[in-house]
């Protein structure tokens, strides 16, 4: 499955967006799983996994934002004809 995505020569922005979507799917899945937790341990584990995925999204969005900021700078630098 991973090979399928990377064979498409995705840009880093596309990869990051894909990662964010996958983390969102995971949050949904873990939330459903959490609703089925039978023990305190399972409850804690799925809560922690949901929190981890939220944190992953923050990290991924930060890097996506960094790429966008640099892209705008690159546009200005390449526009410049001096």
């Amino acid at each position: 499955m991973t090979k399928k995505y990377f064979d498409k020569m995705l840009s880093m922005q596309e990869i990051l967006r894909l990662c964010i979507d996958k983390e969102k799917d995971l949050i949904e899945f873990y939330t459903q799983a959490h609703n089925h937790a039978r023990t305190v341990e399972e409850d804690k584990m799925f809560k922690a996994l949901i929190e981890d995925s939220h944190q992953h999204i923050v990290t991924l969005e930060k890097q996506l934002s960094e790429i966008k900021a640099q892209q705008e700078t690159d546009k200005a630098l390449s526009y410049d004809v001096y």
């Binding site: 934002s65 640099q70 705008e72 700078t73 200005a76 630098l77 410049d80």
Partner: protein
């Protein structure tokens, strides 16, 4: 409250001041329909028209000279340098004319030159410089260098309202990387007043521009790992310097590290260190330490540029060294 980037905060300040005062107008290369190389003036041509958002030829000397002419007839021009590096082409207009007209003829020159400065953006030697020290040496100019979106907005508004020529160094690296909640109410930040970005008792860290964030990162780590409490001062205005706040902090901490992104030799840090030595020598427990970029042109290679510039790690190590005295 709405989230604004540093760049949007500058745009908002321009919009609000143009709306508030009809004498405010903009001039620069491709700032009109195109919105400027970095898009700082995006939307202003549409809002205010070509008479107040003027595209100029590629001549910094002509841009600054025209701004001076307009300012002495009572207008409030805001001139954009596409990159601060190119301000040298208009150097004579700024230091020989704008800076001295009030002294020579009692004529105020209420103008702002916006200068997108700074490195870390892989721009190489012609698009990354921090030339504030050249102008710091010239009496008659005010110099501003905001770090936060709030200050970018509030200081630009004050700069436009000031009756002196102001060079406003806006850091390109921060344009879209700094995002803050800004209030709907008007923000006006007075010139000449520094800000304490982090309270501390053990060491004073004096900085401005993009280096504020590196200093804050270093200060946080020092507190977590060594229980060292660093007071971080964001100068915000470089000319005039807020020496009152600097000296108060030095008297409290007795240790000073000065950090700027501009090259070390002849930088603003040297002047601050000299003034501290003159006014607060008896309070010092250690020599004043300066952290700055190397005395070379800005490298184009990312690896070399990272080595060339100050960063949180270098600041962290410098503070540890100072604390050993």
């Amino acid at each position: 409250m709405a989230t604004s980037t540093y760049l949007e905060a500058i745009n908002q300040a321009l919009f609000e001041e143009m709306e508030r005062d009809e004498s405010v107008f903009l001039l620069g290369e491709d700032i009109g329909i195109y919105g400027g190389a970095f898009k700082v003036t995006k939307g202003l041509y549409k809002a205010f028209g070509g008479d107040r958002v003027i595209d100029t030829p590629i001549s910094e000397s002509a841009i600054i000279g025209s701004a001076i002419g307009a300012a002495i007839t009572g207008l409030r021009p805001v001139a954009e340098m596409q990159f601060a590096d190119f301000i040298t082409v208009g150097f004579n207009q700024l230091v020989a004319n704008a800076a001295t007209l009030y002294y020579r003829h009692n004529i105020p020159v209420p103008m702002v030159v916006r200068a997108p400065s700074g490195g870390g953006i892989r721009g190489g030697p012609f698009h990354s410089r921090n030339p504030e020290a050249w102008f710091f040496h010239q009496p008659g100019l005010k110099i501003v260098a905001p770090a936060t979106a709030r200050d970018a907005k509030g200081l630009l508004k004050s700069s436009i309202r000031d009756n002196n020529p102001v060079i406003y160094f806006e850091h390109k690296y921060l344009y879209r990387r700094v995002k803050e909640e800004l209030p709907k109410e008007e923000i006006v930040v007075p010139l000449g007043k520094a800000n304490i970005s982090r309270e501390g008792d053990d060491v004073t860290v004096i900085t401005y521009g993009a280096m504020v964030f590196e200093c804050l990162d270093a200060a946080k780590k020092l507190f977590e790992e060594h229980d060292i409490s660093a007071q971080v001062i964001d100068l915000r205005t470089l000319q005039p310097l807020d020496m009152e706040l600097i000296l108060q902090s030095v008297q409290k901490t007795s240790r000073v590290v000065i950090v700027h992104e501009a090259s070390l030799s002849g930088g603003i840090g040297a002047e601050i260190a000299a003034r501290i030595s003159e006014k607060a020598f008896e309070y010092l427990d250690a020599p004043v330490k300066r952290i700055a970029s190397l005395d070379t042109p800005t490298p184009f290679s990312p690896i070399l540029e990272n080595e060339f510039m100050p960063n949180a790690e270098k600041i962290y190590n410098a503070i540890l060294e100072i604390m050993k005295f």
